[in-house]
């Protein structure tokens, strides 16, 4: 996967300035950009009328998995748990 470089701007430089001055994890930024992408592409956008096929397989599974990932990473960082880099 190659995240679009513009996608993580214009986010704040660090999400935990009071507790943690490390740069935000690139992995986590990528995860957040990906779930924001999923939110938009799978739940937003124009749906055409007519004989359209929404041919996406396996969406729910991946979607739920990513949501859980982003939620658990956010929760772990708040509790000060060191995350694998």
């Amino acid at each position: 996967m190659s995240a679009h470089p513009r996608r993580t701007s214009p986010g704040p430089e660090s999400r935990h300035p009071s507790r943690d001055s490390r740069p935000p994890s690139a992995t986590r930024q990528k995860d957040i950009a990906l779930i924001d992408l999923l939110d938009r592409l799978l739940d937003g956008g124009v749906v055409l009328a007519g004989d359209i096929t929404l041919a996406v397989a396996d969406v729910d599974l991946v979607y739920v998995g990513l949501r859980a990932l982003v939620s658990s990473v956010a929760a772990a960082e708040r509790q000060g748990v060191p995350l694998p880099r």
């Binding site: 430089e13 799978l42 397989a57 982003v70 939620s71 956010a74 708040r78």
Partner: protein, 215 residues
């Protein structure tokens, strides 16, 4: 079959990115608006991130050139004639939607909330109490972070909190010239609220601002 990416009023595909599975991106025009698509002998659409980004790259390219209505991922039609029929039928609605998003991009803000521990709940009453407490946290976070951002946007789309999720998110339709001031405000809000985890991504196509697009 054809895979459809977006509707736009600027048909400039020169030097643009390829589409899903490297498909060549084409457009058909109808009375000043165009539908952008790629043709495929067979097409499997899964939620592979590479395919999702391929869709978004095409939308992104078009967004730099004109007003764009991104389509939902996975929009497949039989052939260009089916697409032409839709443009013929719904052209007026698409033009109205294009006028609403012209000059704007979408920014996504996500605010992390304190997580609950469902395993520690003793029974139904605790569950309800926790539900109410969670709702209160959500509203507090929204008050502190999301409300000050709304005046910077032309429109706002709130996304309901999903069960088990610990983030509140909102989408903003922001004029291009206001993207930097918006980002500066997000940074200031993060500095003022160190207990919250704020993320902001974009610019995206206006996926959350195409209401009336058939949903």
């Amino acid at each position: 079959m054809i895979y459809v990416y977006a509707i736009t009023d600027a048909i400039e595909l020169h030097d643009g990115p390829s589409g899903l599975h490297g498909g060549q991106v084409q457009a058909i025009e109808h009375e000043g608006i165009a539908c952008v698509f790629s043709t495929h002998d067979q097409l499997e659409v899964s939620s592979d991130p590479e395919l999702l980004w391929a869709h978004e790259r095409v939308v992104d390219h078009l967004m730099d050139r004109g007003a764009v209505l991104p389509l939902r991922f996975g929009s497949v039609l039989r052939d260009p004639e089916a697409l032409r029929a839709i443009l013929d039928e719904d052209g007026a609605r698409f033009r109205l939607l294009l006028s609403r998003v012209r000059g704007c991009v979408e920014l996504a803000v996500r605010v992390g909330l304190a997580s609950s521990e469902p395993g520690a709940l003793a029974g139904g009453r605790d569950y309800m109490r926790e539900r109410l407490a969670a709702r209160q946290r959500e509203e507090d976070a929204a008050d502190r972070v999301l409300t000050p951002l709304r005046p910077l946007a032309r429109a706002t789309a709130h996304r309901p909190v999903q069960a088990g999720n610990t983030t509140v998110s909102e989408s903003y339709l922001v004029p291009r010239a206001a993207v930097e001031p918006f980002a500066a405000e997000v940074r200031a809000l993060q500095a003022r609220n160190p207990g919250l985890s704020i993320s902001c991504t974009g610019p995206w196509g206006p996926y959350s601002f195409v209401d009336g697009g058939g949903r």
